[in-house]
Structure formats: structure tokens, C-alpha cells
């Protein structure tokens, strides 16, 4: 018994030495929202690791919260525990992470929020935000919808997983801008598709039954948008129906090429990941970094699609 204790203490000693030796490399921890739920996040993770590997001074610790806020908070604590130099967090929930961010701030660990922003109350405690502007994306989609329908028509909306920030913000931007820009376009119903193509397809089938006339469909991402498109194609009602998405996926890009899909918002996970890492490095280098660093997420439509590469996911 006593022997094993001594062994433990001895090993702790050597570990402490080992971490002390690598003190001049920069250690950055990242906790992601839910890798594997969609390709965007997976590609983001790969791009992030690649970018970090390319920089010999950076060592990264990559964690995944699996969509669970509580686990993400634990991971924040674990990262603080490991004395990382900075934490990058992709919030599972913009609201619920505020105290954890505040705690890191108190512990002197700068926090960089990536992809979807943290709630207003937490803005004082973060070093910077880097990512797309989800509300702006919703606005872009509303503008495209308006343009495609010439300001008149009846549409349905398929949102992401209820209760998650990205879904809420895109819906918010879309709803507000649409009402303002095109009062002539009415939203018949809003139903969730849970970021799941099959579920979106099922929901769309029911909506097609319910409404004799649907002029347009806005989906929280292209994955669901293609599901809705599939439903409409199967029902023989896709002709003349306008499909607009967000986060352009390869399937969406292809559908656009075939002329079945009207437009989306181009958002590259590679840009997203690189921007996050760069922002973190800038913060650590003591540069004067603005609080909000939006990277560009332009509209992509059938007309301008060839200016963009086909998404890799």
C-alpha cells in the first residue's frame, strides 16, 4: 500500500518536470460543440489540427463536448487545470457557458469563442470572438428568399435542433429580416429538422400534404435543405419551388449546379478553424484584437457558385 503511494508521488514528480520542460511552446485547448454530428464540425476539427501542426510552437488539446453543456463546462475546468495558455470554445449554448468563461477569465486564461457567439452577459470575459455571424447568415437567406420570390409568396422554414444557439440565431435573423424586407412573403409554418436530412425530409413530406401551395423553403443548413428538396422532388412539386439553405454543403452545391437549389450561405469550416487559431495566437501575442472577428460568409447562388470551390463536406 505504502509502496504504491510512493510510486504515485514519484510519477507525479516526473510528470511535473516533463511539463515544465515544454514551457515555451504555446498550449491551446479547444472544446468543440459536437464533432461528428455533421461534417462541418469534423472538417473544422481536422483543419484546426492541421493548422496547429503547421506551427511548431503550438501544441493543442482537442476536446469534444458531444453537444452536452455540462460536459463542456467540465472540459473548460479540465483545460484550466492543465494550465493551458488559452482556451478556444465552440459553445454548445451561448448562455450557459457564461459562468465557465467568467471562471477562466478569473483564472487568467484568455478565452476565444469560435463559430457561434456567447451571450451578451459573457462578452466582458472573453478575449475575442471569431466566427461567422449566424444572425447575418439568417439575414442573407431572408434577402435571397425575398429576391427569388419577388417579394410575394408562401414559404415554410425547417430549423436545426431546437434549443441550440446556431439554430436559434439563424431563425432569428431570417424571421426579422424577412418581415422587414418582404411583408408580402408569409411563413406558413416553422418545424424542426434537427440537423438531420431524413427528419427534414419527413417533416417536409407532411408540410407538402398540409399546404397545397408552397413557394419556398428555408432550411437551417443545406443538409436539411436537400432533405426538403428530396421530399418535394418525390412529390413532384419541386418545380418552381425555391430552396434556400445555409452552410453550403457539397450536396447543396451539387443541387445548385443541377438547378434544383436556389442558394445558400457559403461558410468554410477551414476558414473558421484557421481564424479561430489565429485569433488565439494574436491574443496571446498581446496584439490589440477586436472583440468580434467575423469571417466572411457570402451568399452563394446558382449565378455566382463557380466563384467558390465545391465544399469538401
Amino acid at each position: 500500500m505504502r509502496n504504491s503511494m510512493r510510486l504515485l508521488l514519484a510519477s507525479c514528480g516526473t510528470l511535473a518536470l516533463a511539463s515544465a520542460a515544454s514551457a515555451d511552446t504555446i498550449r491551446i485547448g479547444i472544446t468543440q460543440n459536437n464533432v461528428g454530428i455533421d461534417s462541418y464540425q469534423t472538417t473544422y476539427e481536422q483543419a484546426f489540427i492541421e493548422a496547429a501542426d503547421a506551427n511548431p510552437d503550438v501544441e493543442v488539446i482537442v476536446l469534444d463536448a458531444g453537444g452536452d453543456v455540462a460536459r463542456q463546462i467540465s472540459q473548460m475546468q479540465d483545460l484550466i487545470q492543465q494550465n493551458v495558455d488559452a482556451i478556444i470554445v465552440w459553445p454548445t449554448d451561448g448562455q450557459a457557458l457564461v459562468p465557465a468563461v467568467r471562471n477562466a477569465h478569473r483564472e487568467g486564461v484568455p478565452v476565444i469563442v469560435t463559430n457561434s457567439n456567447i451571450a451578451e452577459a459573457g462578452m466582458d470575459f472573453i478575449a475575442a470572438f471569431s466566427g461567422p455571424n449566424n444572425i447575418q447568415q439568417g439575414i442573407y437567406s431572408a434577402e435571397m428568399m425575398c429576391e427569388a420570390l419577388d417579394g410575394e409568396g408562401e414559404i415554410v422554414q425547417i430549423t436545426g435542433m431546437p434549443g441550440y444557439t446556431t439554430a436559434i440565431e439563424r431563425q432569428q435573423g431570417f424571421d426579422e429580416r424577412l418581415a422587414e424586407l418582404c411583408p408580402g412573403v408569409t411563413q406558413l409554418d416553422i418545424q424542426p429538422g434537427d440537423w438531420n436530412r431524413e427528419r427534414a425530409q419527413r417533416t417536409m413530406e407532411t408540410l407538402l400534404t398540409r399546404f397545397d401551395n408552397i413557394d419556398g423553403v428555408y432550411s437551417g443548413d443545406d443538409n436539411m435543405g436537400v432533405g426538403a428538396l428530396n421530399a418535394a422532388l418525390a412529390a413532384g412539386r419541386a418545380e418552381g419551388m425555391v430552396f434556400i439553405g445555409a452552410t453550403n454543403f457539397a450536396v447543396g452545391y451539387d443541387a445548385m449546379e443541377r438547378g434544383e437549389y436556389w442558394g445558400s450561405v457559403y461558410q468554410s469550416p477551414v476558414d473558421d478553424a484557421r481564424a479561430a487559431l489565429q485569433t488565439a495566437l494574436d491574443v496571446l501575442a498581446g496584439e490589440d484584437v477586436p472583440k468580434l472577428n467575423y469571417f466572411d460568409t457570402p451568399k452563394i447562388t446558382q449565378e455566382n457558385m463557380h466563384e467558390f470551390d465545391r465544399p469538401v463536406f
Binding site: 487545470q81 494550465n83 457564461v98 467568467r102
Partner: protein
């Protein structure tokens, strides 16, 4: 002398293989993961494990009763929503920091009420608890969405989230609350009449009925206790977040059941204890924390946790094989 002390310890470990497992992973991570063996990290583990742990205490009671509760994750979310939302009710606007008090009380009452509904249905309809609470798992989650309107609630008052960072002496307050709950439920189960009746009802329901134990209300009380503990867990979780989200606690029921079963409680009822459950909770907590520290990729964590669960079940069966005397059935 070494022999004399070792033998009871070994025998104890054979009966509680999960603690042997906890010991092994503890030593393993101490040796192989940076920063694992430090006071702060160990406290972190306890705090992190307390969310699942508090519910697991209640689940132990319910499972010893021969029932199960799948609705705890949803109850946790509902209680968290109330705890955060009630603070901002106009009625308590002038209460200052005291507005937290009625909020927490209402949240805990909501948890007890959800447990009471489950317990009452199980008692009166005689439908299996698995089915009743599977329904409630969907239904209560529905209530969460009705109540929150899909939005997250957040606490304006930072005093609420500061609570979770408080310490009592060297110990984080959340760890202390968990420890108190562990001791209280252990005491309840091993020392009180209600606790002993819990074993009786699960071990031989017929006998309990014949002995005049009012089985229905008894089970209902245990459902209310797990409702309370799930709500408490939700409240504490919401203090860590300063907010409540409608998706909080998804899949927690599966981890809670896993922890309790790892701890040696029988799904058929009548057998189990809090010491084992604590071992199960710590085992999962240490594994998650240690794998985070070792940066095991998320995809592999799923495979490892799943395999370990099955492996421990297998070992438990080897060690604690019932004396069937070699009959091949």
C-alpha cells in the same frame, strides 16, 4: 500481518469489483496523464461526477425497489429552467439575492412533483416503471419546451453562478453538497425503516405486501426522492451555467443507470448499496476526466466507455456468480 489486512480487503473488492476498477484507473491515469493527480483535478472530478452522482443516488433507491426511472434527464432540465426563470419573476424583484431562494425551492418542488406523478402512475395503474418513465421522459421534455419556449434562460444575477465557485474550507461547495447527499442517502438506505423497506419491496414484493408494508406509497416516496435529487442536480448544474437550456440532461438517464449497475445494484431489485453506486459514479467520472487529460479522441472515448461497461458487467458476473451449483441452464 500484511496477510491479515489484505484478505478482508481483497474479499471486499471481490464483492465490490467496481472499487477495484476505480483503483486501477486511478493509478493508471495518475501514472500516465499529466495533471491528473493534483488536488484541484481530483476536486474537479468530484464536482463533475456530482451531476450524474446525485441522480444515481436516487436511482439506486428506485432500482433496489425493482423499478427504474428514465425520465430523470428531462426532470433535471425542467428543474433547472424553473430555478433560473423564477428568479426573474416580478414578484421577487425586490428580494435582491434572496430571489434565488424561492426559485430553488420551486425548482426542487417541481422535481418532487414529477417524481410523484411517475410514482403515482406506477402505483395506481400497475404499468411497469420502465414504460411509465419512458413515456415521462418524452413528456417531461415536452413540458420543458413548452415552458421555455425553446429558449435558454439565463440568470441576471451573478450571485447565482458564483455559488458554484464557492468553497467550504478547501472543498468546492458542490463537492460538499454531493458528499452530504451521499452520506444522507446511505444513512437512509442502511439505517432507517424506509430504507430497509426499500430492500424488502424490491427483494420480495409479495412478502412486503403480506407484512403490511404499503408498497404503493413506499414506491411513490422513492420516485419523489429521485425527482428531488434530479432537480437538485439540475439546480446545481444551472448554477454552474448561470443558465438553463432546454436540451440539458439528454442521455443522462443512460449514464446514471450505467453508474448504478456498475456499482452492483441489480436491475431486478432487492440488491445494491450507495457505496457501490459511488464507485460506479467515480469510475465514469475518472474515465471521462482522465481520457480528456490524455486527449483520447472523442470517437474512441465512445468505444472505450461502451466496452468498459460490458467488460465490468462480465467481470461482475464472474466474481459474483450465484451458486447455481453447476446446473447448465
Amino acid at each position: 500481518m500484511a496477510n491479515l489486512t489484505q484478505i478482508p480487503l481483497l474479499r471486499w473488492l471481490m464483492r465490490n469489483p467496481i472499487w477495484g476498477f476505480v483503483l486501477i484507473v486511478f493509478i493508471f491515469f495518475s501514472l500516465s496523464a499529466d495533471n491528473f493527480f493534483s488536488e484541484r483535478n481530483l476536486m474537479n472530478i468530484v464536482v463533475q461526477a456530482s451531476t450524474i452522482g446525485l441522480i444515481a443516488l436516487g436511482m439506486t433507491l428506485v432500482m433496489i425497489n425493482g423499478n427504474i426511472d428514465l425520465s430523470v434527464g428531462a426532470t433535471l432540465a425542467l428543474a433547472a429552467a424553473f430555478a433560473v426563470d423564477v428568479q426573474s419573476w416580478a414578484a421577487f424583484a425586490t428580494w435582491g439575492n434572496w430571489q434565488i431562494l424561492p426559485a430553488v425551492c420551486i425548482a426542487l418542488l417541481v422535481g418532487i412533483l414529477m417524481g410523484a406523478i411517475n410514482g403515482f402512475i406506477v402505483w395506481k395503474t400497475g404499468v411497469d416503471a420502465f414504460i411509465v418513465t419512458l413515456g415521462a421522459m418524452l413528456g417531461i421534455r415536452g413540458l420543458v419546451f413548452v415552458y421555455t419556449g425553446e429558449q435558454s434562460f439565463y440568470a441576471m444575477n451573478f450571485a447565482y453562478s458564483d455559488f458554484s465557485f464557492m468553497t467550504i474550507g478547501p472543498f468546492p461547495v458542490l463537492a460538499v453538497i454531493f458528499a452530504v447527499a451521499v452520506i444522507a442517502v446511505h444513512w437512509l438506505l442502511s439505517r432507517t425503516v424506509h430504507g430497509r423497506n426499500t430492500y424488502a419491496v424490491g427483494g420480495n414484493r409479495e412478502a412486503a405486501v403480506n407484512a403490511g408494508i404499503r408498497v404503493g406509497p413506499h414506491m411513490m416516496i422513492n420516485f419523489m426522492l429521485i425527482g428531488f435529487l434530479a432537480a437538485l442536480s439540475g439546480v446545481l448544474l444551472s448554477t454552474q451555467m448561470g443558465a438553463a437550456t432546454p436540451n440539458l440532461g439528454r442521455d443522462y438517464e443512460l449514464w446514471v443507470i450505467t453508474a448504478v449497475v456498475l456499482g452492483g445494484t441489480k436491475l431486478t431489485g432487492g440488491k445494491g448499496d450507495i457505496i457501490g453506486t459511488l464507485g460506479g459514479v467515480l469510475a465514469i467520472g475518472i474515465l471521462r476526466n482522465g481520457m480528456n487529460l490524455m486527449q483520447v479522441p472523442a470517437f474512441y472515448v465512445l468505444v472505450i466507455l461502451g466496452s468498459i461497461l460490458i467488460a465490468v458487467l462480465f467481470l461482475d458476473k464472474r466474481f459474483n456468480r450465484t451458486a447455481d451449483g453447476g446446473l447448465r441452464l
